[in-house]
Structure formats: structure tokens, C-alpha cells
């Protein structure tokens, strides 16, 4: 049963079916061709002309293009005259393509009745194919498998079909063969959307709309993206957000065709937008349910979960940047990124800055790069951390997202850390390398499954901190890029954890401390100290670097003093040249952060990400 339509306690009312509407999304592992297929669907239905499409692509943020990921595009309505002679309204809701954003995928899925599951004909099923498939199953969506890139020389659709039958428990005969690049199979996909995905059905007695996304527009305030599941959401009516219990007037509603187009109302099954003089993204929760204020629905739609940042790091202005500039930039970024959390913190080493929370590592990197590029800020980021849960001896519980804030050992009764279920799909020849890597990261193998065509699915349970510290890059490099990874948080588990401190000149540098498993702490300390020795340039004096656990030094190195740094020549009296060389050198130093008397490069604070400890 479609639980979105379940109305357990509602008043009796007629159920309406929007027979000419289909709501769908596309889910895929990264690089399996989601974006190209999306473009073809838009083109085929003449929603967007080919020329415009190019421009639209160019408008996409540089960062996302460079990384080969599209985080998300806004929803769009396609008009499709099907072979049955009827005109259908196909609402296509995009999903982000990275594990960091799986909570957003879930929300997008919740707004649909069906999903195209795109699988690369040469690569086959990867970790995110599986993860997305399970998310779609959880939402009771009709799944249409699409085997893409059949034009590739290495394409092996038969093999992929076998994988589909074995791993996804879907009839492989349902799969559509497609080459989005060559335009093969597009019409078949559109027909399948019409024929296989059920039309939306909803109650008439009340109004409910799922807010599946929201954007901030500097001129119009928050634009909520809404899927109406029940009733009719009319412009000019007052509505209520059922989780936050706030009442607004819908000043404008409309649809995406593909630009925002104003309409009188959004009906059952419609996907569109609502503008309601909401000033901040914080005032509306994505996942919230909108209902009529005068006739509220008996209960909200299921599936609302607040966004919880998983990864934290400190962001500090480097020399020459004011903390107020960083605050302004974070405020602006957060206007359109409700997953970005930040609050002021201060560090002895780095001064005033912000502790920022992110969905994951990619999200963290994207935010940092945006701050640096779009806002031209020179920043220092500290090593990423997770939220440790600390039970104190007096029974209180503290959530520690900054290792420097870990209470003294004797006040701690119990420490817990977030664990994930990590799924790795790989060709069998890399199983040994993956096992070695993952065991080193405190992973325990929960399951290993050999699939028919010679792929292996490894399921691990491991601490999240071990995943975010360079695990993905290591996995890729050890498997020549063949292994794919997906993970989901499964809860907190007790850990024997200690604070590893780094001391320069005998003084602990709070921004360099980390929380690590006791069994790994000494090794990590040695690795960090060695890496810091590489990263810290020679200064005018010796710089001893130490790693300590509970006050006991476990590793030590020294960056010996720069022995000679002299401009020897007179350059025939060209004093300006000599002065400029010194100024250049001095400017280089100023990009570093002075901690005590030591000049540290930005990379030093991220040294832990650059260890090759395996």
C-alpha cells in the first residue's frame, strides 16, 4: 500500500486520481548517465530546446561541473503525448547523486510514485545503485530499470540484466535498453513512465503538500517546492506547516515549465512551488507538510526527519581575513543550504571562527570551496570530526563535535561514536586489498556476497570517523577506481577512544587535536608528527613537534631551523628588486597561520587527511 495515501483517521472523503499525471525521479550511481538522460527527456518532450539546454548546463555551478556531479536541478514538468493518444504531465524531480545527500534523495523519492533506476551497461550495478534502489523500495516506488550507455564497446547488457535479477529482485525483462548519448530508448522510457508508474491518488477532504525542497530567492524569500498529495492548494489561502506549526499566506503558487510559471492552484498529484513571504530557510523544514490553516489535515505526511550534520570541522579566517567576513559568507551560503550548520567557536591557536556541520565530506569540501571562491576568503579548515557521544561520570551526556572540547578523562564514564553500514561493490581481485584497508579502519565484515557475474558485495560495520578520514580515496586507489562505496549511519557504539594531542614547542595546539581509537593512537601520532614535519616549513628556529596521549608523549620530530636564507647579490644597485623579493617572501609567510611563534601552512591543519598510514 502506498503509505503516502494512507489516511488512517481522516474524515471520510472521496479519493481522487490524477489520471494524466506521473511523478518520477531518476536514481543512479555517479557517472551512470543520469544527467544525460535527464537532458534527453527534456529535449524529446520539447520542454527545453537543445540550445537552451547547453546554456542551462553552462549556468550550473562551476564547482559541480568540475567534480562531475550535479547536486540537483529544480523539478520540471514534461508534457508528453503518449501512444494512447492522451497528453500526460510528467513531473520529473531530480535527486542529488552523492552519498552525502542521501537524505535529500529520500525526500525527492517521497514526492514520486516511480523511479527510473539508471545502470551503466558497462559498469553494472554499483554501491549507490543498490543504496538508491533500497531507498526507492522503502518509499514503495515503482522502479523502472534503465540500462544506459548500450552504445559503449564495453557494454554488456546481458550481464547487467543478470545482476538486476540477482541483486534487485526485479524482472530483467522489465529493463529498458537505452543510450542517452545516442538518443536510443528515450521514447520507450517515456511510454514506460506512463504505463507502469501509477497515477497519483489523493483525498479531497483536506489539503496536504510535501515540501521536498526549498530555495532562497533574495527577492521573493523562500520558494518551497511542493508535491500536493491531497486536495487543492490555492494561491491566496492561508496554510500551515504541520511540523513547525507556522501559518503563512500563499502569495503565489505555480509550476515548473521549466521556468516558474504562476497558476491559480496546485491539485492532487501536481508538483510545483509555493511562495509565502517566508524570510529564511530556517522557517520551513524540508520534509514538512503543508495543509490548509482553516481545515488542517488530521496528520502530516510520513517521513519527516530533521537534517543532522554528520561531519564537523572548524573554519577560521586566515591572516588578513576578518571573522565578520566569514560570518557574512556563511550566513549567505546557509540561506540556500539548510544542511549547513555553523556556530561561533574559538580556538587558542586559531582565534575566532566557526564550528560547521555538514552532511558529509563532499558537502564539507563544496562549502569550503564556495567560501574560498565565491566569497574570496582565505580560510583554515581543521580536520573533520564526527559527533562523539560522551557520558559523564555524573550521568549527563555531552555531544562532542570538536576534539579540543573533549572533557578530561577522569570525568568520562563512557564514550560512543557513530557507526555506519558501509557497502562496497568490487571485482573479486580487490577483495584482499579492501579487507586489509577496512580492517585497518576498525571495520568488521558483516557480509560478503559473490554475485553471478563475478562481482563481490562486501558489507562492513565501521566507525564513521574512519570513513571520513580518507577512506574513499584509499579505496579508489587500491582498487584502481573499480570499487564503489555507499554508507549509512546505523547508530552509536561504545568505543575505546582517546584524545591525541599535538604539541609545538611543548605547547598543545588545540586545532590539531583529534579523537582516535586507543589501539591506533600511537601509530596515528607518529604518522601525524612525521607528516607535520613535512608540511611545516623550516623556520628561523627549531620546531619540536610532539604527539601526546593523556599527557604522555608518543612521538616526536623536529623541524630543524632554516640554516641559510640570504639574498646574496646586489643586482647592480637594483634595490627595488631586492626589496620586492623580500616582500614576496614575507607575503608567502603571511598566508601561513602563526601559532605561538610558528608559521603553519593551511595544510598542516588537515594533515590527518594526508596520512598514508595503511
Amino acid at each position: 500500500m502506498d503509505r503516502k495515501l494512507a489516511v488512517a483517521h481522516g474524515p471520510s472523503g472521496t479519493v481522487r486520481t490524477a489520471t494524466n499525471i506521473r511523478n518520477f525521479c531518476i536514481i543512479a550511481h555517479i557517472d551512470h548517465g543520469k544527467t544525460t538522460l535527464s537532458d534527453r527527456l527534456l529535449e524529446f518532450t520539447r520542454t527545453v530546446a537543445q540550445r537552451q539546454l547547453g546554456e542551462q548546463m553552462l549556468d550550473a555551478m562551476d564547482l559541480e561541473r568540475e567534480r562531475g556531479i550535479t547536486i540537483k536541478m529544480h523539478p520540471v514538468t514534461l508534457e508528453y503525448p503518449a501512444h494512447d493518444g492522451k497528453l500526460y504531465e510528467l513531473n520529473f524531480i531530480d535527486t542529488p547523486g552523492h552519498v552525502d545527500f542521501s537524505s535529500e534523495v529520500t525526500r525527492s523519492l517521497a514526492a514520486c510514485e516511480g523511479a527510473l533506476l539508471v545502470i551503466d551497461a558497462a559498469q553494472g550495478i554499483e554501491a549507490q545503485t543498490l543504496a538508491n534502489y533500497h531507498l526507492a523500495l522503502d518509499q514503495n516506488l515503482t522502479i523502472i530499470p534503465v540500462i544506459n550507455k548500450i552504445d559503449l564497446p564495453a557494454a554488456d547488457p546481458e550481464r547487467v540484466k543478470k545482476q538486476i535479477e540477482e541483486l534487485l529482485i526485479i524482472e530483467a525483462s522489465d529493463a529498458i535498453l537505452c543510450s542517452a548519448k545516442e538518443g536510443i530508448g528515450i521514447e520507450e522510457i517515456l511510454e514506460a513512465i506512463v504505463a507502469r508508474i501509477p497515477p497519483p491518488r489523493g483525498q479531497d477532504a483536506f489539503v496536504r503538500g510535501l515540501v521536498f525542497d526549498a530555495q532562497f530567492d533574495p527577492y521573493r524569500g523562500v520558494v518551497s517546492y511542493v508535491r500536493v498529495t491531497d486536495g487543492t492548494l490555492r494561491a491566496g489561502t492561508r496554510f500551515m506547516s504541520m511540523n513547525q506549526k507556522k501559518v503563512y499566506e500563499a502569495t503565489e503558487v505555480g509550476v515548473f515549465k521549466p521556468d516558474m510559471r504562476k497558476t491559480q492552484a496546485l491539485d492532487v498529484g501536481n508538483v510545483g512551488y509555493v511562495i509565502a513571504n517566508i524570510k529564511s530557510l530556517g522557517d520551513i523544514d524540508v520534509g514538512d507538510t503543508l495543509t490548509e490553516a482553516s481545515n488542517p489535515a488530521p496528520e502530516p505526511l510520513a517521513g519527516y526527519k530533521p537534517i543532522v550534520p554528520m561531519v564537523y570541522c572548524g573554519l577560521y579566517p586566515n591572516e588578513g581575513v576578518e571573522v565578520s567576513e566569514l560570518r557574512d559568507a556563511l550566513e549567505k551560503l546557509a540561506l540556500n543550504d539548510s544542511a549547513l550548520h555553523y556556530e561561533p567557536e574559538s580556538s587558542i591557536a586559531l582565534g575566532f571562527g566557526f564550528r560547521c556541520g555538514f552532511l558529509g565530506l563532499l558537502h564539507m569540501e563544496i562549502v569550503q570551496e564556495r567560501l574560498e571562491r565565491n566569497y574570496n576568503l582565505d580560510l583554515i579548515a581543521t580536520s573533520p570530526s564526527v559527533v562523539f557521544r560522551v557520558t559523564m561520570t555524573d550521568g549527563t551526556i555531552e555531544n562532542i563535535d570538536n576534539p579540543a572540547k573533549l572533557p578530561a578523562r577522569d570525568r568520562i564514564a563512557l564514550m560512543e561514536e557513530p557507526f555506519v553500514k558501509a557497502t562496497v561493490i568490487t571485482p573479486p581481485e580487490y577483495v584482499g586489498a579492501i579487507m586489509e584497508l577496512t580492517q585497518n579502519r576498525r571495520g568488521t565484515l558483516a557480509n560478503m556476497e559473490y554475485v553471478a557475474d563475478g562481482r563481490v558485495i562486501l558489507t562492513y560495520e565501521m566507525p564513521l570517523i574512519e570513513v571520513i578520514i580518507d577512506y574513499f580515496d584509499q579505496l579508489k586507489s587500491r582498487t584502481k577506481g573499480y570499487a564503489s562505496l555507499d554508507y549509512e549511519v546505523i547508530g552509536y557504539r561504545e568505543g575505546d577512544l582517546v584524545k591525541l594531542e599535538i604539541l609545538l614547542h611543548g605547547d598543545p595546539v588545540d586545532a590539531l587535536s583529534s579523537i582516535v581509537a586507543r589501539e591506533k593512537a600511537a601509530n596515528r601520532g607518529r604518522g601525524l608528527v612525521e607528516k607535520l614535519k613535512e608540511l611545516i616549513p623550516r623556520q628561523m628556529f627549531d620546531v619540536p613537534i610532539q604527539a601526546a596521549i593523556g599527557g604522555k608523549v608518543v612521538a616526536r620530530e623536529t623541524v630543524s631551523a632554516m640554516r641559510k636564507n640570504v639574498l646574496a647579490k646586489c643586482y647592480g644597485g637594483d634595490i627595488s628588486r631586492k626589496r620586492k623579493l623580500l616582500e614576496k617572501q614575507k607575503a608567502g609567510k603571511e598566508r601561513m597561520k602563526r601559532v605561538g611563534t610558528v608559521d603553519l601552512p593551511q595544510e598542516a591543519f588537515m594533515a590527518v587527511l594526508r596520512l598514508d598510514e595503511n
Binding site: 632554516m562 640554516r563 644597485g573 634595490i575 617572501q585 614575507k586 607575503a587
Partner: protein, 392 residues
């Protein structure tokens, strides 16, 4: 009411001013050098000389006490040509004759004949600085130098025979392949010639030179920072032990034999620079002529202003530059002279820098002088950079 003439800084400097003339041609080009220089072509050299005379003729009124021919390789021009230049320069800048006239020379026997030195002597050239670089054959080959180690002694002898005894030589340390032993051999060979003055320059890898490409490919071929420091220290110790004053970071002189021309640079004095790429410091303005040969020659021959760059430093930047220069010398910054010339108390203005540098043992500060310690000389860039970058 009679106005007492003001003792302006420029007046003080003028009485010690210098004239620098750049002669950019070389018989061959060394792969480490990034000075403005070109391989010798007779026609270019002739035209360049005409341009130089034109620039001398139209140069601003200026009184110079010293004259320095640098290059390039000045002795690619014959002695008569240099003599003619000295005459023209003296007429323009020093009617009573220069107190010190230096020529940089390549010790190659073909370029250093007895006749050359005799003509120099007659023209009033009284100081020669030989570009020796090393007395080790393999190191000379690495540097692309074509003279033989023995050529230097021969050149010294005939220069002395001609009556020129104020002889200096340049050595380079940090040459790929150089060791403390080979450096010691070069120093010993240099001392055996009893020069009046020695300059030791750490090899600098300059962008755009063949050495820069070599370094990019094979950084391991070059001296480590530690070895460079060891070589520099060994040079200082050896020369000081032999009776030389280490009077500037790279320069050593027997008592009374410091280079007056260079000393004027470090005293932040004024000087006029003539020729392609030459630098001047006049009336508070530092300027550098264009480094393109044709652009210089065309402009000079046209009698127009020579294109190039110029800047007038004010405030902290001006002070920083004066500090940078003063700190290079053994005497350091003279506090009283600094206060008189710039109207600033050095100790007050640079207090935070001085405190930090003293704590690191790089600066020795008394009430009358602030100078680099021995350690400070080894990291002079960091120390001077702290003063240059200090805004007050």
C-alpha cells in the same frame, strides 16, 4: 632674512653619490646568470656605445664620487673604449675625477692583456673586480665559465704590473658538485693571490635561466640548504681568519679596501645608473631602465626618456628599505643617523620586530646601532623581510 641652506638628505647623499654603467655584452653567456646581457655582436656593441654616450650627454646633473662598470662583461669592450667612457662620465658627473673607478672583468687571457690594464690605469681605472666564481676546473665547467683557474693569477700579476692593486674577486658557493673541500680549495687559491677584496655569493637559481630548468628537472644536483649554510660559514671563517673584514653579507675586504661604490648602495645613498637595465636612485625616486636592448638603444639615441619602471617610496616602506640595506652591513643601522635622516626613532618604530628578532638571536641592538648577529646574517632574508614588511 638670509635663509640657512637646509641639509637635506639628498644633499648628504649627493656628496657620496655613485655612477653605474651597464655594459651588457658577453663573449659567451653563462647558464646561471640573469643579468641584462647579450652575446657580443660587433654592430650591436657599437650602437650600444653610441646610445650610452647619448644618455651620458643628456643625463641629469648629478655629482658622483665613484664609478662602476658592471655587466655583462665590461672588458668585451676594448680598453680605449672604456677610457673614452671614463672621460665622458667624469666630465658629466665628477669634474675633479672619481675617487674610485671599478671595472668588472672576465679573467680570460684574451680579454686581460697587459695593454688593457695599462690603458685602464691611464684612464684612471683603479679597481678591478674579477668574475672568478671558482678555482676548481669542474665547477667552472658546470658554471659554463671558459677561463682556466690559472688565468686569474696571471690577470692579477699583469694588473699589478700596470699599477692597479685594488683587486677584488667574486666566488660562488653552492655550485652543483661543490663540497666543503673544493670550496676550501677555491678560497685558499683566492687568498694565495692576496686580493684586496673578496665577494662570496651563494648560487641563486634565477627564473628563466638554464639553471632553473636544470633545477626543475634535477633538484638533487644542487646544494641543500644545510650545505649552503656550511659553505657560507666556512667562507666567513676562512676569510676573517685571513684578515678580511666581513663588512657586508656577501663582501669581505682588507682594512681600507671596502668597495666605496657598493657601500653607497647600503648607505641608501643616491646614484645614477646608465645603460640597459640600469638602476638609479635620485631625489627619492628609484628607477630602472628597460631591460630590452633595442628599446633602450632606440630611446637613448632618440634623446628621449628611457622607458622603465620607477617608484617613490614613502613612509614605512621607505624606512623598511633603509633598514634592509643598513642591516646588510657590519656596522648595521646607525640609530642617530637614521633619526636625523628619516625623523624616526628606530628602536621605537621597530620595537615589536626588534623584540622578536632579539629573542631569536638574529639581531644585536645597542643604543647606537642595530645589526645582524652571525646567525642573523644566515637568515638575513627573514630578518630584513620582517623590517621591510613592518607597517608600524
Amino acid at each position: 632674512m638670509p635663509v640657512e641652506p637646509q641639509r637635506t638628505p639628498s644633499r648628504i647623499a649627493r656628496s657620496h653619490g655613485g655612477a653605474y654603467v651597464h655594459l651588457p655584452f658577453c663573449p659567451y653567456v653563462c647558464p646561471y646568470c640573469d643579468f641584462a646581457k647579450w652575446p657580443l655582436r660587433r654592430s650591436s656593441a657599437t650602437r650600444y656605445l653610441e646610445a650610452l654616450h647619448a644618455e651620458i650627454a643628456s643625463a641629469p646633473a648629478f655629482e658622483a664620487r665613484t664609478l662602476f662598470f658592471g655587466g655583462g662583461t665590461p672588458n668585451t669592450y676594448d680598453a680605449a673604449t672604456l677610457a673614452e667612457l671614463v672621460r665622458a662620465l667624469a666630465a658629466r658627473f665628477s669634474p675633479d675625477g672619481f675617487a674610485e673607478t671599478t671595472v668588472e672583468m672576465n679573467p680570460d687571457p684574451e680579454l686581460c692583456t697587459p695593454a688593457t690594464f695599462a690603458a685602464y690605469r691611464a684612464a684612471g681605472i683603479d679597481r678591478v673586480s674579477f668574475g672568478v666564481q671558482s678555482f676548481v676546473e669542474s665547477e667552472l665547467a658546470t658554471l659554463g665559465r671558459r677561463h682556466a683557474p690559472g688565468d686569474v693569477g696571471r690577470a692579477f700579476a699583469i694588473a699589478r704590473d700596470a699599477g692597479i692593486d685594488n683587486l677584488s674577486l667574486d666566488l660562488i658557493f653552492g655550485i652543483p658538485g661543490q663540497t666543503v673541500e673544493s670550496w676550501d680549495a677555491s678560497l685558499a687559491a683566492a687568498l694565495a693571490l692576496e686580493p684586496a677584496h673578496v665577494s662570496t655569493y651563494g648560487l641563486t637559481i634565477e627564473d628563466g635561466t638554464p639553471f632553473a630548468e636544470w633545477f626543475a628537472r634535477t633538484p638533487g644536483a644542487f646544494a641543500t640548504n644545510d650545505l649552503e649554510a656550511e659553505l657560507y660559514a666556512h667562507g666567513i671563517d676562512t676569510l676573517v681568519r685571513a684578515g678580511f673584514e666581513h663588512y657586508e653579507i656577501s663582501n669581505f675586504a682588507r682594512p681600507g679596501r671596502r668597495c666605496a661604490h657598493n657601500a653607497n648602495y647600503w648607505a641608501n645613498g643616491e646614484y645614477v645608473g646608465l645603460g640597459v637595465g640600469a638602476a638609479s636612485y635620485l631625489a627619492g625616486v628609484r628607477s630602472t631602465h628597460v631591460r630590452e636592448l633595442d628599446a633602450y638603444v632606440d630611446a637613448a639615441l632618440a634623446g628621449g626618456p628611457i622607458p622603465g619602471e620607477s617608484e617613490r617610496l614613502e613612509g614605512a616602506a621607505r624606512l623598511g628599505e633603509a633598514a634592509m640595506l643598513g642591516l646588510r652591513t657590519a656596522e648595521g643601522v646607525d640609530i642617530a643617523a637614521f633619526a636625523e635622516r628619516y625623523g624616526v626613532d628606530f628602536h621605537d618604530f621597530y620595537r615589536p620586530v626588534l623584540t622578536e628578532m632579539r629573542a631569536m638571536g638574529t639581531i644585536d641592538a645597542t643604543s647606537s646601532h642595530v645589526r645582524l648577529t652571525r646567525r642573523g646574517r644566515f637568515v638575513a632574508n627573514d630578518v630584513c623581510g620582517a623590517f621591510v614588511g613592518f607597517a608600524g
